[in-house]
């Protein structure tokens, strides 16, 4: 925060990771300035939004946006059509409500954990999600990394097509860690890396995978800027060599 001539001016101190270049939808007419889409998620990480956050969001989309919010598949909320000169004011309101831009670009995307009130959940994964989010969320990466936690093998949070998927397999403890999944143009289902007994081990494994990925990812063959996804690194090196330190 800096002050200029008595009027408090808000300056952005957070990295602008969630600000996406946007185009206007074809059926909504907005004239004038260039607009951006803003992807926001709750920080500290939460798999729920409070009613206060919804009201803050409502105010922001009414004041600066087009009155619409898009629900994304990784429980982010996308606010479209915010004029570039309004971005800072919109962000200020969102920060106050505990909403931060994030979950975009080549970073660790918003963590996904299933809801704690599900009757099928073998055990709660929300705390794990919070821990992982504190350590790794929005961390800069060679390419996007999606991390999902599922409380049961039904996997509503789609751990099988995430770069790192964690599934609770046992109510007393016990998680399966899957890595190397991917969605999009070429689908890859994640392969089982290891079984873990405790939450601590899960965090350690995720730490190893993320560090190894950062160190070992190269540019995609034939590309000058795009780096490999986790699945491609594992294809190139093999699972054993990938997990070796270095």
């Amino acid at each position: 925060m800096t002050e200029t001539g008595g009027n408090e001016k808000f300056t952005l101190e957070m990295p602008k990771v969630g600000i996406i270049r946007g185009v206007q939808a074809k059926d909504i007419e907005v004239t004038g300035q260039k607009t951006v889409n803003l992807r926001v998620c709750a920080r500290p990480y939460s798999n729920v939004y409070t009613s206060g956050q919804l009201r803050a969001l409502k105010h922001v989309i009414e004041t600066f946006g087009s009155g619409l919010v898009h629900l994304s598949p990784r429980h982010n909320l996308e606010i479209p059509e915010i004029a570039q000169n309004h971005v800072d004011s919109a962000l200020k309101e969102l920060y106050t409500a505990g909403l931060f831009p994030g979950g975009a670009g080549t970073s660790v995307r918003n963590i996904f954990t299933c809801p704690q009130w599900c009757t099928k959940a073998l055990r709660q994964v929300r705390e794990l999600g919070l821990m992982v989010s504190r350590n790794f969320a929005d961390m800069d990466m060679p390419n996007k990394v999606t991390v999902s936690f599922a409380g049961c093998p039904n996997g509503c949070s789609r751990p099988e097509t995430c770069d790192i998927g964690i599934i609770a397999t046992d109510s007393s403890g016990g998680f399966s860690v899957l890595i190397g999944g991917k969605e999009g143009m070429n689908v890859r289902f994640a392969a089982l890396l290891t079984e873990c007994a405790s939450e601590f081990e899960v965090i350690e494994i995720i730490d190893t995978v993320i560090n190894n990925y950062r160190n070992k990812a190269r540019l995609r063959p034939g590309s000058e800027r795009k780096k490999e996804r986790l699945a491609e690194v594992i294809d190139r090196l093999g699972l054993n060599e990938f997990m070796q330190k270095g």
């Binding site: 939808a25 798999n47 939004y49 009613s51 009414e62 629900l71 789609r158 097509t161 969605e183 143009m185």
Partner: protein, 276 residues
């Protein structure tokens, strides 16, 4: 099977309500709808909501007896409980504001959702409509996935050799474009008709024409037996797409034994069973 959208909880008498938007767009919420959800979460629930991966909103810890009251409140705002059990799950579509869209599909999703909102099927059925080949909404692991495709051609406009159509993020993903001194050329055999290059080309040398919709069936998530969807057919316009999806659901209902999902039928009877 309980009423659509009402999910039993661990506590007796308490339920979780799954809510989806029916208008103006099923993949988005309006300011009014957000306000209504916040009010309901405060007065009937525990002041919080969960955003599900299928663009619906879960309001937990609701008293089972107040569901009727809440439904009336929701309907006034264009929202409705739904998308649970074997009822057709919320049809999802990707963002209309995305730069990669070959053709946005929110209107098709809205049509399907309002037409089929209380349709009961043999098992859980996911329909995902994706505006481009990246398929953020996971068309390739849904029971029915749709991907928009746009045919591209070279117009008379002079190429400025900016090479935006070659470089990521908006450039060609399959190396079908080559840039020479004479301008750009597109290898139609390599082209997957995603339409990225149309959005990327500033002088309009590359332009898009006919948009079509690829329909894929039989995908499935879940950790134990995930399955990738396979290509079935192509619809030429949005009305045809809606009709095709309707016919597919009819065929599925007719063919399914017990609680088979579309992928299981494809495994058992082959893709021919679904060819219309």
């Amino acid at each position: 099977m309980g009423p659509n959208g009402v999910i039993q909880s661990k506590v007796k008498g308490r339920v979780t309500l799954r809510v989806r938007s029916l208008k103006p767009h099923t993949s988005e919420m309006t300011a009014l709808q957000l306000g209504v959800l916040a009010d309901i979460a405060d007065s009937y629930g525990s002041g919080m909501v969960h955003i599900t991966p299928r663009q619906s909103v879960e309001i937990p810890h609701i008293d089972g007896s107040s569901v009727g009251e809440i439904t009336a409140l929701l309907e006034r705002a264009g929202l409705a409980p739904g998308s649970s059990d074997n009822y057709l799950r919320n049809v999802i579509a990707c963002s209309r504001w995305c730069l990669y869209n070959a053709a946005p599909l929110s209107t098709a999703a809205q049509k399907l959702n309002s037409m089929l909102q209380s349709l009961r099927l043999p098992a859980k059925t996911n329909i995902s409509l994706s505006g481009c080949d990246f398929s953020c909404v996971r068309s390739r692991t849904s029971d029915i996935g749709v991907i928009s495709r746009q045919e591209v051609y070279i117009t008379g406009n002079k190429c400025k050799k900016c090479s935006l159509c070659l470089k990521p993020p908006l450039g060609c993903q399959v190396d079908a474009i080559t840039l020479t001194d004479d301008g750009v050329s597109i290898d139609q055999h390599k082209c997957v008709r995603c339409g990225f290059c149309v959005n990327a080309c500033p002088p309009g040398t590359i332009a898009g024409k006919r948009v079509s919709y690829d329909v894929l069936i039989g995908g499935k998530g879940g950790v134990n037996t995930p399955r990738e969807a396979v290509y079935l057919t192509t619809a030429d316009n949005e009305d045809e797409l809606v009709a095709t999806v309707g016919r597919l659901l009819d065929t599925y209902t007719r063919l399914a034994r017990e609680s088979e999902r579309i992928g299981d039928i494809v495994n058992r009877a082959g893709l021919e069973a679904f060819i219309l």
